[in-house]
């Protein structure tokens, strides 16, 4: 494996992890959307590079889907939704930035510790890909957990999906079936998100999910 080829893949995947960290501390809606768009863009670059290294032309399709859908269409549409819901002025109280970052570091270390020994049989590229992918997934989960705004939670979930796409492309030779399906489900999920965000805003005049807790049925 040529050193430079590996280094570029490593660079792109490492940048993806770095962007996941950046998602953690954004407290303004537009900044969050922009970082997410960048996240998806770096993902598409990474997938495209994998397509080049693995000589797998069908991965170019996945890269294109990631670029068009997740880097362009979804951020633009979410931007419109944010403007319509009039929450772009909102500054979100992100829970304890310092502890969250340290926790994020811990998660990255954990995923490296877990994935490296387990994948000792496979080639170096797949190993680093999977370790980074798991880090991105866990960081996306952390983003979802530390947020109160419904739109931010959705963005956290989408960054989690980006990590999954990274993992799927790292697993060399995985058939296109799954890739198209992942893209398809992104679309469906987005429709659902759109419907829900509007319904939540209609009913509660806010997308703060803590407001939803008042209506949690059956409080004993």
């Amino acid at each position: 494996m040529n050193g430079l080829l590996f280094d570029v893949a490593h660079l792109l995947a490492g940048t993806l992890v770095l962007l996941s960290f950046m998602l953690l501390y954004q407290d303004r809606m537009f900044a969050l959307l922009n970082v997410f768009a960048l996240h998806a863009f770096v993902l598409s670059l990474s997938v495209g590079w994998q397509a080049f290294i693995q000589d797998a032309p069908h991965l170019y399709v996945t890269a294109a889907i990631a670029l068009v859908f997740k880097a362009i269409v979804i951020p633009v549409a979410l931007r419109r939704i944010v403007l319509r819901l009039r929450i772009h002025h909102m500054i979100e109280t992100v829970v304890g930035i310092g502890p969250t970052m340290l926790l994020g570091m811990g998660l990255v270390a954990l995923s490296i510790l877990v994935m490296l020994p387990v994948t000792s049989g496979t080639d170096v590229l797949a190993r680093e890909d999977l370790a980074f992918a798991l880090s991105v997934v866990l960081l996306g989960l952390l983003t979802m957990v530390s947020r109160r705004n419904a739109v931010s939670q959705v963005i956290g979930f989408m960054s989690l999906e980006n990590g999954l796409v990274l993992a799927a492309t790292g697993a060399k030779g995985m058939p296109l079936v799954v890739e198209i399906s992942v893209a398809f489900s992104i679309l469906i999920a987005f429709i659902v998100i759109g419907i829900f965000l509007f319904r939540i805003r209609e009913r509660f005049d806010t997308v703060d999910v803590h407001a939803l807790e008042m209506f949690r049925g059956d409080r004993p």
Binding site: V118, G121, L130, G173, M174, S181, F184, A189, R199, P220
Partner: protein, 483 residues
């Protein structure tokens, strides 16, 4: 001459898909409801055919010993639920809780859900199964939120978030399984096929399999509703329309558990992988005990039975965690019996909630006097679900407890404790619901009770006499499931 097996397996998928397309366009309620029932009947017939004629295992679809009974069960419950839904939704239309525009949506989603569940059951590709489970999750999320009340939206949002996270973790586990298989089988579709995976699992990397199973358990376990991943379940059951509660409890939980079973078979075929037993046992027991205690404080009737579903899923997970021929048999039997009984209970609860106009337990009393058929149906259903003889659930629970007692007495004690606590809670609530002076509206219910009777009848028959072919099938699959 078309191969009957291939035709049947294709129709099990094609009929719901086509019905969904048609139902999305039909405006009238009566016609839609009838078409819904008819399409479900056709699917059930196709599934029955699969008992006799199976297609050759392909790269995408497979009908083998493990999933053939599940597909029949799935389509049967889908059919009876469609019948229940026909009368239930008519009432919702009258009271104005559901507008006609949503009806097309509802019926189309129902058939898409059936399509997805059938696909998940007969898929031979791990990724395809994942996609099917994801589609099923998304359709149920949309349907849980269909009433658009604040509570319904909260339930649907919670379900969506938790379900999506679970699905994502399950995908990661799937990728890891593919990686494990790739080094032995090579790249491409055959590294994702169930039959190939089970056959070749002996040579997979054990560490990779262990890690994969953890992710899969977390992911699909969320969809099964095992504690502590169950948070979405009570709300989703309580806030959605009752046919959806019946389908969730009776079918979707089973499909998720089926996925876990398939993976357990793969792990079991590898001698060096850590046995998934202890994890399943602990999660199962935790679910049983937790749900049993939570049953006492419930004030909403659908939520009560939702927690009962969590308890039973815990029992099934415990059974498969214990492993061995007896416990596996008990688990499989319990899956079938629970599916039938719980949906029967939801059938009666649905009509009860409609006629009384409320889901609060405190406001529903004396059902056996005001609505004898529904009331006694509920009584029979609850008696069946808590595991009293002569119903089928008693058989499976008895088998499980005795086999566990022989191997791990302390676990059996905890299990029995949980079961008894749950029994107490349900009987306590049943007492208030069914007996005493009637409260609330006493208007008659114009609905068909056939679905409820069919299910309860089947459970009773199974409890008294389990047909030998069925026993043989259960034993065979129990053997395949390993330790």
């Amino acid at each position: 001459m078309i191969d009957l097996g291939t035709f049947a397996s294709d129709s099990v998928l094609a009929v719901p898909a086509a019905a969904a397309a048609v139902l999305a366009l039909l405006p009238g309620y009566r016609v839609s409801a009838r078409l819904n029932v008819f399409a479900s009947l056709l699917t059930f017939a196709a599934a029955l055919t699969l008992l006799f004629a199976r297609p050759e295992p392909g790269l995408y679809l497979i009908v083998d010993d493990v999933n053939v009974i599940f597909i029949v069960l799935n389509t049967l419950v889908a059919f009876t639920t469609a019948m229940f839904s026909a009368s239930y939704i008519a009432h919702e239309l009258e009271t104005g809780r559901l507008t006609p525009t949503f009806l097309r949506f509802y019926h189309a989603m129902y058939q898409i859900l059936m399509f997805a569940m059938n696909l998940a059951l007969i898929a031979n590709n791990v990724g395809l199964m994942w996609v099917a489970v994801e589609i099923a999750t998304l359709t149920t999320v949309l349907m849980v939120g269909i009433y658009r009340t604040p509570e319904a939206l909260e339930a649907a949002w919670k379900y969506f978030i938790l379900g999506s996270v679970g699905i994502a973790l399950a995908l990661f586990g799937t990728i890891l399984i593919y990686l494990a298989a790739r080094s032995v089988v090579g790249e491409g579709l055959q590294a994702m096929a169930w039959n190939v995976l089970v056959r070749e699992a002996g040579g997979f990397d054990p560490a990779l399999l262990n890690l994969a199973f953890v992710f899969l358990l977390l992911g699909y376990g969320t969809k099964v509703g095992l504690a502590p991943l169950h948070a979405w379940l009570p709300d989703a059951h309580a806030e959605g329309p009752t046919p959806i509660s019946a389908v969730l409890s009776g079918l979707l939980l089973n499909v998720a558990l089926f996925a876990l079973l398939r993976f357990k078979m793969v792990i079991a075929a590898n001698a060096h992988a850590v046995a998934p037993g202890p994890l399943l046992v602990s999660m199962g027991l935790a679910s049983v005990v937790f749900a049993a205690f939570m049953l006492y404080r419930r004030r909403d009737i659908k939520r009560l039975f939702a927690y009962s579903s969590i308890e039973h899923m815990g029992i099934i997970a415990f059974a498969f965690g214990m492993g061995g021929p007896l416990a596996n048999f008990a688990g499989l039997l319990h899956m079938t019996m629970h599916s039938l009984t719980k949906s029967a209970i939801f059938f009666s609860v649905g009509h009860i909630a409609q006629v009384k106009g409320t889901q609060k337990i405190a406001d529903i009393r004396g059902l056996t006097e005001s609505h004898p058929v529904l009331g006694w149906g509920l009584v029979v259903g609850v008696v069946a679900i808590v595991g009293m003889p002569p119903f089928g659930i008693f058989m499976s629970e008895f088998l499980l407890v005795t086999s566990t007692f022989a191997r791990q007495p302390w676990l059996a004690v905890v299990l029995v404790l949980g079961l008894l606590v749950g029994l107490g809670a349900l009987f306590l609530r049943l007492n208030g619901l069914a007996f005493g002076a009637p409260q609330g509206s006493t208007a008659p219910v114009q609905a068909s009770h056939v679905p409820m009777f069919v299910h309860l009848g089947l459970v009773l028959i199974a409890g008294l006499y389990l047909p030998p072919p069925l026993v043989a099938w259960f034993q065979h699959v129990a053997g395949l499931l390993g330790q």
